[in-house]
Assembly symmetry: C2
Homo-oligomer: 309 residues x 2
């Protein structure tokens, strides 16, 4: 493992147990000859813009169903060429990144493997990992290797129009190998994200899903519950606090219901914990136990202050 | 009522039934001779800065317990003079704005009335209204008139250091008269907030509290529940969605527990409604009813999109 991991020796069983920091002291600006991006929206487009910004690839091809949208991505400089044919798009690519909604990722990866060059590396940018990883053939044909990725970047806005070359600057990207992932693939995909200025963390798919249920999927559900239950006559009285707290509820419905669908178990566990916390507030409030309320608010404030702005 | 209200004739019983828009076609830049601000923090300091910015008062005196903090407010240009003695501070003031934490407002208003000039106008900037209004003597001595205000502006940050002269620009300010409030007082205090560039809405204290329970107090509780229940080991994986959703949980604990305390009934009602909404999500998710989840997310997105950014 050439000392690249802080935790060594690296073993499959350890991957699921924590967050490991992948570090690479000297990033050699590795030039990729040809990279294919499947799905050129906010994330795919931002990857393309960052690749161009940092001069990391000779050629980036964008693959999608809608040629008008692909042309727009090309006009914006996110990709060098476009195609609606998956087989042609990935034919010469060393690295293929699947940036579609989560439900479609496993099928695309399985198809990509049939058409990609021998030994190509495939990753994704999906917000769930376990359902995706377990639906992808292992091993893939053609010595193609898949390893899951999840860059923790994005917004409630969709589409390549909102793509930014600095979207991944300083963002965490979780890379989720399994016991069968070759270490060289972990190294290559980690280096890719680091070249896009992300900070890479390596953990197993299940651990990723449990963490993200709490840090991302539950907040989305909660914001939606709050926004959804607001009486329209109160809209005018919803100021910055309400707006901040519910902003992500404007996210794409199909995208998020796909995420919820794929991460049901962990999300239900996180939701149960949140409802329990709210029930505790309800009990304290109905007993006018303001000391108890203060203790809970203090713990929450400490946690939130620790996160920074 | 000289046509100032869209709803006419104006009656006490109507006040609690809706949000009325107070409009004043031509604001005469009314000069106040002397205004007193009790509690010069974020809100009180911003009032002072806005008064100066728009040249609305000859003299603004800041009243507080801590002379060091008062001096800082004076250095920042938020007030012209300072005193720690309430009686001296309000002695010549036409208008007194009490900007302390909500629990202290009624006592301060009752004291102010004893020392203020005959017929002075007193208002506040508290986030709750019913508990405050009902704890203030009615009538007040000395022909002093109190009318509640709540400017929907602020942030999770406290202190005069964060005060801004444009804090109220375009913000809603709710003015909450009761059946015994003289129409001239409604007019004068509304004009005051409009001079600070706020948009004034007139409604009864109870209606205000029910609305704000949903639009402000519940979001704070929810953000705190989410931030409070986050496992510290997940902090690094909490990205912008989590941060936005929980930002207000960094707010001052004493201030917010005071608000929760004063608005328990309405907050408990809003909380019950939110828990019910979350239980519906839980049921749909555990039955893998993604169509049902999509319907709820769609309603939430529509509500949130309507609010704007």
């Amino acid at each position: 493992m050439s000392g690249l991991f802080r935790v060594s020796p690296y073993g499959g069983s350890q991957v699921t147990e924590g967050i490991y920091s992948y570090t690479c002291d000297a990033i050699n600006a590795m030039k990729w000859d040809r990279i294919a991006i499947v799905g050129v929206g906010l994330i795919g487009g931002s990857i393309g813009l960052a690749l161009r910004q940092h001069k990391l690839a000779q050629h980036v091809v964008g693959i999608g169903r809608n040629s008008t949208r692909l042309s727009r991505a090309q006009d914006l400089g996110a990709i060098d060429s476009t195609t609606t044919q998956l087989d042609r798009g990935v034919a010469d690519a060393e690295l293929i990144i699947v940036c579609t909604p989560v439900q479609q990722i496993p099928d695309f990866v399985n198809q990509v493997a049939a058409f990609a060059p021998r030994g190509a590396l495939v990753t994704d940018a999906g917000s769930t990992k376990e359902a995706i990883v377990s639906a992808i053939h292992d091993p893939l044909p053609n010595e193609v290797v898949f390893i899951g990725s999840h860059p923790l970047a994005g917004s409630e806005k969709q589409g390549v129009e909102h793509a930014r070359s600095d979207l991944f600057d300083g963002a965490i990207c979780v890379v989720t190998p399994t016991a069968s992932t070759p270490p060289s693939a972990i190294q290559r995909v980690s280096q890719f994200w680091q070249e896009l200025r992300a900070k890479v963390r390596v953990m197993g798919p299940e651990a990723h899903d449990m963490a993200l249920a709490h840090t991302s999927h539950l907040p989305h559900l909660m914001a939606s519950a709050l926004a959804g239950s607001l009486d329209p006559s109160y809209h005018e009285l919803a100021a910055s606090g309400f707006r901040d707290t519910t902003r992500i509820a404007s996210g794409d419905v199909e995208l998020w219901s796909g995420i919820f669908d794929q991460n049901q178990t962990a999300l239900l566990e996180a939701l149960a914990r949140l409802i329990q916390e709210l029930e505790t507030y309800r009990e304290l409030l109905s007993q006018s136990d303001m000391e108890g309320v203060c203790k809970m608010l203090t713990r929450a404030k400490r946690n939130r202050d620790d996160l920074g702005s």
